[in-house]
Each structure stands twice: as C-alpha cells, then as structure tokens.
Amino acid sequence: MLLEINNLEVLYNEVVLVLKGLSLAVPEGRIVALLGSNGAGKTTTLRAVSGLLKHENGAVTQGTITYQGARIEGRPAHEIVRRGIVQVMEGRGVFDELTVEDNLRAGLAVRGGGRRAAGELETAFGYFPVLKARRRQVAGYLSGGEQQMLVIGRALMTRPALLLLDEPSLGLAPLVVGELFRIIQRINREAGVSILLVEQNAQMALTIADHGYVMEGGRIMLDGPARELQDNRNVREFYLGLTEQGALKSYRDVKHYVRRKRWFSS
C-alpha cells in the first residue's frame, strides 16, 4: 500500500471531533474515490494527510497515517510534499498575479528551483494543452476550469507519487468536468500517479476510480470496488440520485416516502 490510514481521529479546537476512527488505503498506481455528504470529514481527511490541520487549529489525536512505510501524521506540510504527496485544494488557489508558466514553475520550489524545467513544463502542457496556449497570461484572468487545470498541473510539477484532489469539479460546467476527469485518468495511467479523489460528483468519481469509500459522520460506512459501489442500492439512491429502475428520482415521491439509510442491512 502506498498510503494507509488506520483508525484516525482528528480533533479541531480541542473540542470538535471530526474523524472518529477512519481507516482507508490507497494502493500504488490506483485511483481511490472518497465520497460522502457535506460535513462527513472528507476534506479533514485530506488535510490530515497533507499536514494542513494546524492552520485550522486541528490535530491528530489517535491513529496512524503511513506513507511508503513511514509514519507521517503531524509532519509539516512542506516536508510531506517533499516525500511525494501533493494536495490540490478545493476552490483553486492559483497565484493570481503570476503568469501561467510562473505558476507552474512555482511548483518546482520543492525540487530546488525552476530554472531548468523544460521537461516538467512539457509534461504539464501535454496533459493540459489549453495552459500552453495561455502560458504568458496572468493566472487571475483564467476561467474557472482553466484555473483548476492550472493547479493540478502545478501539483504535477512536484513529480508526486500521490495526488490528493479535493473536489476538482467544483463549479465547473458538466462538459469541462468530463474533460478534467479524462485528464485525471490519463495522469494516473501514463505517469503512474496514485490519486485520492474527494468528490461530490459521485457518478463521475466512480467512473474513473478503481476503489471507493463512502464516509459519513467521520467514519467509513462502506467501501468496495468502484463498479460494485455504482450498483449498490444505497449509493445509487443517496449519492447518484437514482431509483431502482434507473430513472431519475422524482421529488414528488420523496415527499411520500423517505427511505432511511441503513448501511448494514442492504
């Protein structure tokens, strides 16, 4: 296993327990999807892995995060990037006043500067041709989809072994989402980068993922190969919005009969 999280507990502000014994694993070279409703603790899980908890006054109180055989919980974020885990935050985060190319070069800081970067730049432009066309433009003026591509490209510049993606589809048009996910899949196949993907768009995520986890209330409620999850009755109804017949669910029916989530009996 490339990344293994075992029985993780995360506490914010010394009073709010967000992760209550979460365990998951990302095998080498695979895409793992982490699904769940708002507030389930998906982003917290990513923050715990990438070392961003302390900005939110959070801390790992129990459990372990093991990456390539070494314990990394509580290590500072810049060190974790050096080890090969890079997180792409929710809501973009481009460096507004740098050009596209300078944004990408900034991703080389972890490897000692961006002077000789032709190879890496070509790789990033290979995945995201639209960035190449705009390489001299100031990043703040890119569209939402292009900005999302830019931050993923920037993360790739660090030559990661594990990419943590936090809702890459946020606020993007369905067509752009489709394109983005195809590129994510290519990055996984061609560069061999393992990916832990947090998504609200469960349909898309399960299409490209090998394995999926479903979180609720700070715990993993269900996991299995992505194909099986797509067929799971609960996942279909609560995350994919589909009824048994495969038709879109009508709100008229919801009013009369709300089926409860019963993870362990289905």
Partner: protein
Amino acid sequence: MALPRPCGDFKRSWEADEAVFPTAFSRGALAAFLLLLGLAPLAAGDFWLYLLNLCGIALVGAQGLNILTGFTGQISLGHGAFVGVGGYTVGILATRLNVNPVVALLAAGVAAALVGLLFGLPSLRIKGFYLAMATLAAQFILEYLFMRAAPLTGGAQGLFVERPALAGLAIDSDAKFFYLIMTVAALATAGARNLLRTDVGRCFVAIRDRDIAAELIGVNLFAYKLLAFALSSFFAGLAGGLLAYYVQAINPQGFTVLLSVDYLAMIIIGGLGSVLGATFGAVFITLLPELLKLAIDAVGGWLPIENIFPALREIIFGLLIVLFLLREPEGLAKLWWDVKAYWKLWPFAY
C-alpha cells in the same frame, strides 16, 4: 467563538440566548467583580490606584481601537493622535472657557470623532498596509498641529489642566478619579460589547470578514467604515479627555506614534475583535512595564546593571510580547477561553 454552554441551560428566546452574561453564575461573578472594583480604593495604595486609573483610561481607548481594527478590520496607526485631540479639547475647554467637565469630556469625544471621520475618508479607497500608512500620516499631521498651533495648544510646553469638579464635588484625589474613570470605562466596555450585538456591529464584522459580500447584501461600505472611524475616535477622545484631567498636563510628547503602537499592541495581545480581549490587553500593556520596573528594581539591589536598566526593560518588554504571541497567537482572550473550556469540559472535552 462561543463557549460551550453548561448542561441543562436552555433558552426560550433569542434575547435570553444573546445575553452577555447568560447564567446566574456569570451574573454573580460580574457583580462580585464590580463590588471588588468598587472597594479597591480602600485597599490599594496611591501607586496601585494610579496604575488602575491608567488601566481604566487605556481601556477606554483600547475599546475604541478595537471597534475600528478588531470589529471592522480597518487598521489605524493614528489612534494616539485621536486620543491627543480629546486631551487638547479638554485642555482648551477647561483652561480657557472653564466648561463643565461632563460637557468637556463629551466635547472631547465629539471633536476626536470629527477628526477621525476626516482621516477615515481614505478608507474607502485603500485597505490594509496602505490604510496603515494613511492613518500614520494622520498621526504626524495632528502631532505637528499640537506642536505648531501654539496659541491654542501651548506648543511644546502644552497645557496645564485644573482638576475638575462635578456638581460642586471636587475630584481631586486618586480615589475620586478612580470612580470617575471606572464609570466611563465600564460604560465604554458595555457600549462596545453591545455594539457587537446590534445591526451596526454585524455590519462592521461583515466588512471585516468579507467586504465585497457585505456590499452585495446592501451594507454601505463607505458609511459604515466612516462610522467605525468616528465611533472609535469618540472613545479615543474620551480617553484623552480623562487623561488630561487626571495627569493635569498635556503636551505633544504624550501623543506620539508610540502611543498608537501601544494601543495596537493592547488589542492584538488581548485578541483582535474581542471586547474581553481589549480589556485584558489594556491592563496587560499598562501594567507590564511597571511590573518589570518593580522586578528589575528588586533585582537591581544586588546586581551591578543599574545603568542599563531602561534599555533592559524595553528589551524584556518586547521579548515578552513576542514570546507570548508565539505561544498564543489569538491573544489573552483565547487563553481565557481555553482555560474556561478546560474547566467546563474536563474530563470529557469531546
């Protein structure tokens, strides 16, 4: 940040839920504190009473700056000069025109508020570091006026202020001043705390947290920023007026940029945006140099470092502040919160 409520303490109305002192215990603690404070002059010597009075005056000014910088997010490096405007207003009204002290104090507040309003004008166009520079300019312009408008301000010598008399009662001792200052300080603190719970207070915080979103829900940025400047300077003017009456002599050296920095230090160490924090910060920053002085005097008897005392004191002062902020970046208010939460929730914090 809301403190966890005790078990079984349920509220049935919005008013009860919003109460500043929500439980019988907290109200009892407030009453006990006020009682102890009221009795303080009986127990404290002149020196301690003097320090308490300075704390009270600093508290009024700090609550003012907290409204501007803590609530509204507009940094000001000119607060010391606004305090000065209040001081000179009282000085001029009391010496030249023999005005009633209550009227003079209110006039000090209003005069400072008007000046603050004027120097708040750039705040619509500039933010952050740039606003800091603009308010620093206000500081220097006002300092220059204190110095140069000699016919009015007495120039470098400054003004001498008579001790005030309220309704025939001469306020001529530290103890009598104590009650005057603490009354104003209590009103200022209660005012600042209540401001935070009003529509105006919510608009201030909205401007601080996300100014564009505030504008989009209909907050008039310009009007509210100016209001924040005016309110903040009003408090500063009151503090300056009290200071003028209390120390009886005002001159330009008392209201330099160092005073502005002291006020910023108070609200930052206390915890930005917290009324309780501003209170703690004002007391802390006022007392720390004096306590350091006492400590060094005590040690100085048997250490041959007499000549470098003043420098040493400044260094320790600065060092303590940096170390404290490293340990507790969110200030004394957060420390207080942590301690309270610990006792309330122990042993099951989560």
